[in-house]
Structures are given as structure tokens and as C-alpha cells.
């Protein structure tokens, strides 16, 4: 029997003047994993939000187990057994894991008070049932990225679990956590649950899915079985091209040091600290540092970009202390920086796309340019075109999807020549084709003589681009042998397994 059926769904967002979903059909059977793939902005997330009751469709019908429903909030969807695991954290960071799961469904005593023991007990039962080991009383902000993801999954499973919708669940997970997640998905599937799995990663989808629906421009273009395609074929289907497997190879030879870290130590940041990090990134090479969340990658990013000074040790840019550069000088032509914290650091969320794109060169314009001229907008359009950001310009940047925001940051930072490039998780939220475009632009800058430091929690980024790779584990850097380190070696180093 069909667990869920979505028929001719349409959804229009007046605020962005975008038809996010335009007549999409989708169905989910008992005991299947149905993957939903497509480019950024194809409508996958919107369709998932409609199924989960966060949004109501303008037209079309949603039916659960054959009977039509109309959800007014996620609570209604939960009553129908639908759980949702969002792409970005939707947890309250200062509350405990158990409080987060119980939120909105708190058991009470005397009718008014929260029954906190019951909250913790229910959580432990739930965690045991699915084989998770999260402490119910642990405050969410102290958990690792995968711990937080586990809490999110438990919340989705806490009420019902007949249908589970996962929106890019592995984007922040390491290899081991991903495998655990897949095992769980398979178990739920064999217990008769239906799973909607949204992802960009062709390999995962082929591993996991029973059916694959490809979305484009708000419609489900086609639905195929995994046997009908391979990794490359699927990637090309997602972006409608035949560019798959175009790698990047290194050209020039490394030169002078661009960015140097000498025994940099940064502590007092919990698990996110650095312990005597030594690193030299020479001009004309890409050095990648890979780490799972909470091993010091954020600390390394802050130090390398000059946002935070180290407790001890030196950070040198072109041989001079990074803090001897006035920020304006550093950020115009010396250092390009793509931050992990895209919304906080990378963008001014309330400003327009165009202003965000030209933020680095605002001093180049006069008042008259802004008041009367077209130069700022035209320049922004030219910049944005290099990363294929559509309908940009005057829209507020926070109306864009995550992938498009990332492209705006990349378009601004990777435009001109820069001596040093610090790119932290630069491919976050990007679909396959924009990811390839970004990596090839980084390779191009390397060939033009930039020293590129790539910080990533995705080993794939590193293995595609890096000339040298390091793994950061518990604040210590460890070199990996050569560019061709195999996946299992990286995975072992990431999780601290000694060879």
C-alpha cells in the first residue's frame, strides 16, 4: 500500500516571486527508500516540507495511507506518523537532548508541571530501541555534530516513524556515522517504514535507494530504479549534463610560503582547539585539512583567517604576522576567505545579493554610482554570472537557498587574484555541478599562484583537489601520505585510529 502520495503539488512563494514546486507528483511505498535528487533550488526541500506539514501546498493533494490530509503544522504530520530530519539543525542548543525530543509533547504531572524524570526516561527508552548512546541530560550544544544529528533522528522517530523524511542527513557526518545511519535506515525499512531520502551524493543514493526521483524546476522529471544507472549517469541526470568525471589536476610547482602556522595553540574552546599546529601553505599549492566536527577545524579556520589570535605560536601571511595587516588590506587582494559560518560571517543576510557580491569593493564606488549609476549592479551581475547565480541583484540574500548563498560568497571571494585563499567547507550545500565549478576555480587560482588552504569535513573535497592533505584529530595535525591517500586511510585518521 502507498504510505504517502503527493499529487500535482504546486507551491508559490510571493516573497521571492518563485514557483518552488510546479505540479510535482511523488509517492512512497511501505518498506522502501525513495531518494529525491536534483539541483539546488529544484524544489526538493519544499516538497519535503509540504509532506511534513511545514508548508501547505497552493494546490494539489497529499494523501497518507490512501486518505487525503491537510496538515496545518508539523504536529499534524507527526500524528500521521511522519518524522523529519532537517538539513540544518532545528534543535534548541541550550536544552538537553531529552528536552528537545519532548518539546511540544511534554509529559506532565499535576497537569501543569513538566515531568522531567519521565522526559529523560522516555528518551533513554527511545535511544535504546534504535541503538543510540546519547545521554538524555546532555546539553545539545555540547554534543558533537553526529550526536546532534542522532538527537534529530530520535526526535523524528519519537512519534510514529511510519514515514521518515531525511534532508541531506549525511552532509555533516563522517564515514563511520554515515554507515551507522544507513544501517538504521535499512532496519527501519525492513520494519515496514517508508523513507524519503534527499541527497546530492550519487554514491549514497545508489547504495540505499529503491527508487530515485529526479526533480528539476519544481517537477519530478523522472523516477528510476538504481539498477538503471550508475554513479556518473545519476550525477549527469541530476544536473542534466555529461560532464561527470572531469577531475582537476595540479599544474604549477609550489613556491614561497603564502600562509604559515608555527606551533599554533588555541585552547579554552572545548573540543574545538588546536594543539601545536605547524602548517605551511606555499604559493601554487592546495593544502587540505580534513576533520570531523569538534576536532579543531573551526579553531584552525579562525586562526588562519585572522579572526582569532592564537594563545601561542605565529600565523604569518607572506612572511608577516597576519595581525600586522589592517583588515582592509588583508581582505583586498591578499586573502580570500570562504567561511564555514556562511550566514554569520560570509554574508550580510539582510542586504541584497548584489551588495553582498560587491561587498569587497564598495570603496571603489562613489555616492553617485549608487544613487544614479548602474555600475554596482552591473558589476554584481558579472560577478554572480561566474557562479551562475540566477535572478540575483536586488533580492535580499537570505531569500536565496543555501546552495545559492554559497555561490554568492564564492563569487565574491574567488573573483580576483589573492595570495592566500582560506576556503572552509566551500562546497557546503552545493550540488554536483556547482561543486565542480568551485573546485576547478580553486585549482585555477592555485595555478595562478595562490596559496590555497582548504578546510573541509568532507574527505572527497580534499582528495579531489589537494596537493597535500592533513587530518586534524583532537587538535593535532597529521600529514597524509601524498595526494592519493585512499578513503579508508583518511577515515581511520579522521577518527583517530592508529595505523
Amino acid at each position: 500500500m502507498q504510505l504517502a502520495t503527493l499529487t500535482s503539488i504546486r507551491k508559490y512563494y510571493p516573497s521571492t516571486n518563485a514557483l518552488a514546486v510546479d505540479g510535482a507528483d511523488f509517492s512512497l511505498e511501505r518498506g522502501e527508500v525513495h531518494a529525491l535528487v536534483g539541483e539546488n533550488g529544484a524544489g526538493k526541500s519544499t516538497l519535503a516540507k509540504i509532506l511534513c506539514g511545514f508548508e501547505s501546498p497552493d494546490s494539489g493533494t497529499v494523501a497518507i495511507r490512501g486518505s487525503p490530509v491537510s496538515f496545518s503544522s508539523h504536529r499534524d504530520a507527526e500524528k500521521a506518523g511522519i518524522g523529519f530530519v532537517p538539513q540544518y539543525s532545528m534543535l534548541a542548543p541550550g536544552l538537553s537532548a531529552a528536552d528537545n525530543v519532548a518539546l511540544g509533547h511534554e509529559p506532565r504531572f499535576l497537569g501543569v508541571f513538566s515531568d522531567r524524570r519521565r522526559v529523560a526516561y522516555d528518551f533513554s527508552l527511545l535511544a535504546d530501541r534504535y541503538g543510540f548512546s546519547v545521554n538524555p541530560d546532555a546539553i545539545v550544544s555540547t554534543l558533537s555534530a553526529s550526536g546532534r544529528r542522532e538527537v534529530e533522528i530520535l526526535r523524528a522517530l519519537a512519534r510514529g516513524g511510519g514515514v521518515l523524511v531525511l534532508d541531506e542527513p549525511t552532509s555533516i557526518l563522517g564515514e563511520r556515522e554515515t554507515e551507522a545511519l544507513f544501517a538504521l535506515i535499512r532496519r527501519l525499512k525492513s520494519a515496514g517504514a517508508g523513507i524519503v531520502y534527499i541527497s546530492h551524493r550519487a554514491k549514497e543514493i545508489l547504495d540505499l535507494a529503491d527508487r530515485i526521483s529526479v526533480m528539476r524546476a519544481g517537477r519530478v522529471e523522472r523516477t528510476i530504479r538504481p539498477d538503471d544507472t550508475d554513479e556518473c549517469g545519476l550525477a549527469d541526470l541530476i544536473v542534466r549534463s555529461s560532464s561527470c568525471a572531469a577531475g582537476t589536476d595540479s599544474g604549477s610547482t609550489p613556491g614561497k610560503p603564502g600562509l604559515t602556522l608555527r606551533s599554533v595553540t588555541l585552547s579554552r574552546r572545548g573540543s574545538d582547539s588546536l594543539d601545536g599546529a605547524d602548517l605551511v601553505v606555499r604559493k601554487g599549492e592546495v593544502v587540505a585539512v580534513v576533520a570531523l566536527g569538534g576536532n579543531g577545524l573551526d579553531a584552525l579556520e579562525d586562526v588562519a583567517a585572522g579572526v582569532v589570535g592564537p594563545d601561542s605560536g605565529d600565523v604569518l601571511v607572506l612572511g608577516k604576522d597576519i595581525h600586522s595587516y589592517p583588515p582592509r588590506i588583508l581582505r583586498s587582494g591578499v586573502m580570500a576567505y570562504i567561511p564555514t559560518d556562511r550566514e554569520g560571517r560570509g554574508l550580510c543576510a539582510k542586504a541584497s545579493v548584489a551588495l553582498n557580491a560587491i561587498a569587497g569593493r564598495l570603496r571603489g564606488y562613489s555616492f553617485a554610482d549608487f544613487a544614479l549609476g548602474r555600475a554596482p549592479l552591473a558589476d554584481a551581475d558579472a560577478l554572480l554570472a561566474s557562479f551562475d547565480v540566477k535572478n540575483g541583484g536586488r533580492r535580499r540574500v537570505d531569500t536565496l537557498s543555501g546552495g545559492n548563498r554559497q555561490r554568492v560568497v564564492a563569487a565574491r571571494e574567488l573573483d580576483g587574484p589573492a595570495d592566500v585563499v582560506v576556503a572552509a567547507n566551500p562546497t557546503q550545500g552545493l550540488d554536483r555541478s556547482s561543486r565542480a565549478a568551485l573546485l576547478s576555480r580553486l585549482a585555477e587560482m592555485r595555478d595562478e599562484g595562490s596559496a590555497v588552504l582548504l578546510l573541509s569535513s568532507d574527505p572527497e573535497d580534499a582528495s579531489e583537489l589537494a596537493d597535500r592533505s592533513f587530518v586534524l584529530y583532537r587538535g593535532r595535525l597529521k600529514a597524509l601520505s601524498g595526494p592519493g591517500s585512499d578513503d579508508s586511510a583518511i577515515a581511520a585518521a579522521l577518527t583517530g585510529v592508529e595505523p
Binding site: 503544522s73 523529519f84 540544518y88 539543525s89 541550550g94 536544552l95 528537545n100 513538566s114
Partner: protein, 291 residues
């Protein structure tokens, strides 16, 4: 020489005014949108107590003192949510509106724009007999309105610490998406918390008015602002906020008592708590910046 039990007696009376307002303010801070209208709401509570008390008796006075500011707070929050107005600006507006409105209404209700004493609205001291016990006697010597204010403060604190609404308010302040996932309207949670803060400030104002038994224009005299500071000084925690309120209450009572025994001008002594508040705020903020 300042007599210790007299000092404590005053301090606890000041605390009865500061604590409910500070905890009410903390509730809105939990929900991610600090209500800066504590001062105005306190004054609204004092005026409502006197106006309704004069017309319908003390009980009605206390009820009105809780409901009117609660409604004002709720509507002001509704306005800032629906009209997308900055809650800070709306709060400032309330702080300016209430004294003006009270002064206008005072002319109709009490027949004058100035001080208006109403007989029978000053609360008695029900346990005054036990007040002579050394030190702890101060606990018993308070007016009944002060005990009511403490009761409300404890109730608001319980709501925050022990009920689903408290947890939801904290979630609203941390990540509204967490509430969306729970199918709860975060705006509704914020509205409820604002109403709660209005209620708490209202009882503060009523405690103030019923200790005097008269309406005095601007009688809150900055105590709402001190309560706001107590939220910050207390580290935005329940226990801390209460402790900071107690510290300020002690300072206020010291200044009042010191008038009687020193040659220093009364104005200087009475400004001392506010001055110390300013010092504490500056020190506190420089410390949090260094972290």
C-alpha cells in the same frame, strides 16, 4: 548606627518590588526578546492598583494591577510581532506612554495630576507581632502586598523552571525552528511570556503603591530599570537574577537608612544605588567582553 533588623525589613520590602519585575524580565529574555518596558509596566501596575482599588476595593485593585500591565505587555508584543516593529523601540514607547497616560487618567480618577492618597489602600502588616524576633523578624514584618508579590515571583519562577511553557520559552530564544519542529507557534509562546512579564511587573507596582497607600506620579522611580539590570547582572539565570535583585534591594535600603544618620545630602545618598548600578553594569559588560 543603622539598625540591622530595620535595614533588612526595608531591604525585603524593596526586594518585593524588584524580584517579580526582574524575574518577569528574565522570562522574556529566555524567549529571546527582552522586554525593556519593565519600568512602564510597573508604573501601570501601581496606577491600576490605586485606580481600581479606590473604586472597587483592594482585591479588585490587585487583580487589575496584574491584568492591565499583562494586557499592555501582550499587546505591545503582538504589535512588534505583527507589524514587524523592533521590540526595543516598542518597549521604549511603552515606557514613555504609561507615565503620560497615567497622568492624564489621574485627573479623571483622583481629580488631580499630582499625588493622590486614597484611604484604606495601604496594606497592613499581618504578622507584625512576630517582627520583634531578632533578624528573622524582618521576614514577618512585611506588608501583605509584599507577600503577595513574592508569591507571584515564585509562581513566575516555577513556570519558567518547571513547566512546558518555560522550556518552550527557552527554546524560542535559542532556536525558533525547534518549536516549528514541535508544531508550536513561537509567536504564541513569546506572547504568553510577555503577558507573564506584564503580570509580574504589575504586582511589583501594586506592592509599591500599597506600601505608600497613594498614587505618586512616576513612583516606580527607576526600579523597573534596576530590575532590568538585575537580569543581566544575574547572568540571565533565575538564581542569579534573584540574587542580583537582593543586592540592589540592600543597596536601596542602605541609602534610605543612611539619610537619617549622616550629614551627606539626601540626594547623593538616594542616587547611590543608581550610581552603583551603573558601575556594576559597566564592570559586568567589560568582563563579558573579555571572555
Amino acid at each position: 548606627m543603622i539598625h540591622l533588623s530595620a535595614l533588612l525589613l526595608d531591604a525585603i520590602a524593596f526586594l518585593a518590588v524588584l524580584a517579580p519585575a526582574a524575574i518577569g524580565g528574565l522570562a522574556t529574555e529566555y524567549a529571546g526578546s527582552l522586554n525593556i518596558a519593565l519600568e512602564g509596566l510597573m508604573l501601570a501596575g501601581a496606577f491600576s492598583y490605586m485606580a481600581f482599588g479606590a473604586a472597587f476595593g483592594t482585591v479588585a485593585g490587585f487583580i487589575a494591577a496584574m491584568l492591565v500591565p499583562s494586557a499592555i505587555a501582550y499587546v505591545s508584543d503582538l504589535f512588534s510581532r505583527k507589524a514587524n516593529a523592533d521590540s526595543f523601540v516598542v518597549g521604549l514607547g511603552v515606557n514613555m506612554l504609561v507615565p503620560a497616560a497615567a497622568s492624564m487618567l489621574s485627573k479623571y480618577v483622583f481629580g488631580s495630576k499630582g499625588v493622590a492618597a486614597v484611604a484604606g489602600l495601604q496594606s497592613g502588616r499581618p504578622f507584625a507581632g512576630a517582627a520583634s524576633i531578632p533578624v528573622v523578624g524582618a521576614l514577618f514584618g512585611q506588608r501583605s502586598s509584599d507577600y503577595l508579590a513574592f508569591g507571584v515571583a515564585i509562581m513566575v519562577a516555577l513556570v519558567l523552571a518547571r513547566t512546558p511553557l518555560g522550556t518552550r520559552a527557552k527554546a524560542a530564544g535559542m532556536n525558533r525552528d525547534a518549536l516549528t519542529m514541535a508544531g508550536i507557534d513561537s509567536g504564541g509562546v513569546r506572547g504568553a511570556v510577555y503577558a507573564l512579564s506584564g503580570l509580574a511587573c504589575g504586582i511589583s507596582g501594586a506592592a509599591l503603591a500599597s506600601s505608600v497607600g497613594a498614587w505618586v506620579p512616576n513612583m516606580s522611580a527607576g526600579r523597573g530599570w534596576i530590575a532590568l539590570v538585575a537580569v543581566y547582572l544575574g547572568g540571565k539565570r533565575l538564581g542569579g537574577t534573584f540574587a542580583a535583585s537582593a543586592l540592589f534591594a540592600l543597596l536601596l535600603s542602605l541609602a534610605t537608612r543612611a539619610q537619617a544618620i549622616t550629614e551627606a545630602p539626601a540626594e547623593l545618598l538616594l542616587s547611590l544605588p543608581y550610581f552603583l548600578t551603573a558601575v556594576v553594569v559597566v564592570l559586568g559588560s567589560s568582563r563579558s567582553k573579555r571572555k
